[in-house]
């Protein structure tokens, strides 16, 4: 399990400190294992986080909407343009900016003061935090006598190679596994909402899909994964639903 990295941005020092303290307290109570592998950075200005932000730098950003200088919403738009994966939660005094928050597909909002809205805080965290943990899920396989863990997010797709062995196509290389059957991998991976069986014995990670064509999925690197005629409607509907709700 990797370190979960959270950034908090608020121009009010007291709100910044409160948010960090609150977050650590709730996570320690509800997710003690993950709380031990937690790194929180704080920023007092949107401009500061934008200056250093890179894709993959944070798993979650908690941002105040109204700040002097660049607003949290505008900063979130810049950040979303760089990283479509990072979860964003807004800190706000009321829920009337929720609609605007969805422009950057924010995962939710915390209402200030946090101690007066603890239940809503915990509810939003219960919705968002498991998604962060899921990013670090790994597939454990036996290879050459060794146990190897491959993060789900690195798997582009799985199929059967010419030797009828399960082949994991990852970002860097293609790995053939003789110790596991396709059916075993299928059962494990289909339990994760990222994976879709779009063709006979082909499981694709929907996060790796760049575009959906009439008969194929096109991956980020240009590779085509065919969609079976029989499963077309169902596979496409699942992908579209995933794309909207990921």
């Amino acid at each position: 399990m990797g370190v979960i990295r959270i950034g908090i941005v608020d121009d009010e020092l007291i709100d910044l400190v409160t948010a960090e303290r609150f977050l650590r307290q709730v996570l320690k109570e509800q997710y003690p294992k993950e709380a031990a592998a937690l790194k929180i950075d704080t920023f007092s200005r949107s401009e500061d986080i934008i200056a250093v932000f890179e894709p993959g730098m944070y798993d979650l950003l908690i941002m105040d909407i109204y700040m002097t200088g660049l607003s949290g919403l505008d900063a979130a738009e810049v950040i979303r343009g760089r990283d479509r994966e990072v979860s964003i939660i807004f800190l706000t005094g009321s829920d009337e900016h929720l609609m605007a928050g969805y422009r950057v597909f924010a995962d939710g909002y915390f209402i200030k003061p946090l101690y007066d809205h603890k239940e809503e805080f915990e509810e939003t965290l219960r919705y968002v935090f498991p998604k962060l943990v899921e990013r670090y899920k790994e597939l454990t396989v036996e290879m050459g006598g060794l146990t190897v863990s491959i993060p789900y997010r690195n798997i582009r797709y799985i199929d059967i190679d010419h030797r009828h062995q399960v082949c994991l196509h990852t970002a860097g290389e293609n790995i053939s596994i003789s110790s596991a059957s396709y059916e075993e991998c299928r059962q494990i991976l289909l339990a994760d909402k990222r994976f879709l069986e779009c063709h006979h014995r082909i499981l694709v990670n929907m996060d790796a899909i760049k575009a959906m064509k009439a008969d194929d999925f096109i991956l980020e690197d240009g590779e085509k994964i065919p969609i079976s005629q029989r499963r077309k409607k169902e596979a496409k509907a699942k992908y579209m639903h995933y794309m909207v709700h990921r």
Binding site: E77, M99, Y102, R103, K213, D215, K236, H241, V244
Partner: protein, 439 residues
Amino acid sequence: MLNYLPLAALFICMQLSGAYLRYLPFAAETTEGRRRLFCRCTILWSFLSFVATILVLWQTRLHPGGYKLLVAALPLPYFFIAWRVLGGPFWAHLFILGMQYLWALALHTVVAIGEGLWLKDMTDGKILFCHPLFYLVLFLLTFPFAGRMFRQLLPSIRPFANRKIGLTLSLLPLSIFIGLMLPIADAAVLHSLKVQLSRISIPLFLIIMYRSVSRGALEADARREEEHRQKLLEAQAAFLREQERLLRQSQREADRLADTVRNDYRRLDGYLAAGDMRAALQFIESKEGELKNSRPLPAFTTHSIVNAALTVYSERAKASGLSLRCRINLPPRLEVDEHEFATLLANLLENAIQAAAPVAKKREITLSIRYRGSTMALELVNPTSSPLLLDAKGLPVAAKRNHGLGMASLSAFMKKYDAYADFTQEGDTVRFLLYCNGE
């Protein structure tokens, strides 16, 4: 056996000509990949059936009964290839098969009439040998007409949206063909001119009637589309006017609020200057309640026309006692035309509100739009009290006359942007998904 090689080759050419005619109604919707797969499967099967045809002709020694059976049965594997590879509803392929059989029967009969008139002195064997060649020549001569007809053959009329009725109607041409074939399923090579003329009249009559009816339907469709386009423009203008009204209302509200705040500051100032903290705090508490009830118009997106459409329909949903939840994430620059997209959203929401209005429970419509790079996905979920009927293209069929505006706009949008749409119904909930690849 090798003597039957040329005849078997001509048989296969006949089958390929029929397969091509049956492909034409689906050609416009077929992707390049499917087209190539269809060609490969057809050619592969043609090699196999070429061998099988030689064997059958050799075994039956060119018996007319076996010959006719081959002509009638050989198209069937091609039919299954087309259905599985090209996709589309089974009833559509069945309908096309029936119509192609009737057209082929008409051509065969015309050739047989010619053979009866000019080749009656030839032996049966020679006639059977030459028949496919004459058929192919006549096929090529009539192809400009037949090709045009078959391209427009698939009906999109409402009866076919009902599966049972659709299947029954699609069997009509096939059953007429079987009815015409049964009396001539014998060992005679040529029948009398009277029998031949009667055999040709029914399929030609059916084809001509169908062509007239479908041409009329196409013209009616074109008129409806034009009316829809007009209505789309009117709807677009209407929701822009409504947005303008809402904005003016919001502006008046904001001005009133500004005046109120100024007055409130003066009063508060008065309390503080008099040292009356209790009165000041009570006054602030009363004002907080007022502020909570005053809400500006939501900004769903920075694209003003799309925002106008969403604002208007959010208000309309509220007026119908429904709640519209929106999660809108659009890119700074839309890959599609904003006016067309706003019109599409307006029509989809109009349909959703109409479907949801009679429902007593779960009175909520949710609209989610998300983009990724140049691709965009949209999901619209609404409750409904009526079953969803889909046409051959997978789009809902309008339940009432002069409705269906939304689907016409969706169909046009999908065609222009090569978008993909999916409608499903689970119990009393309809889910619509739309995918658009901007590239």
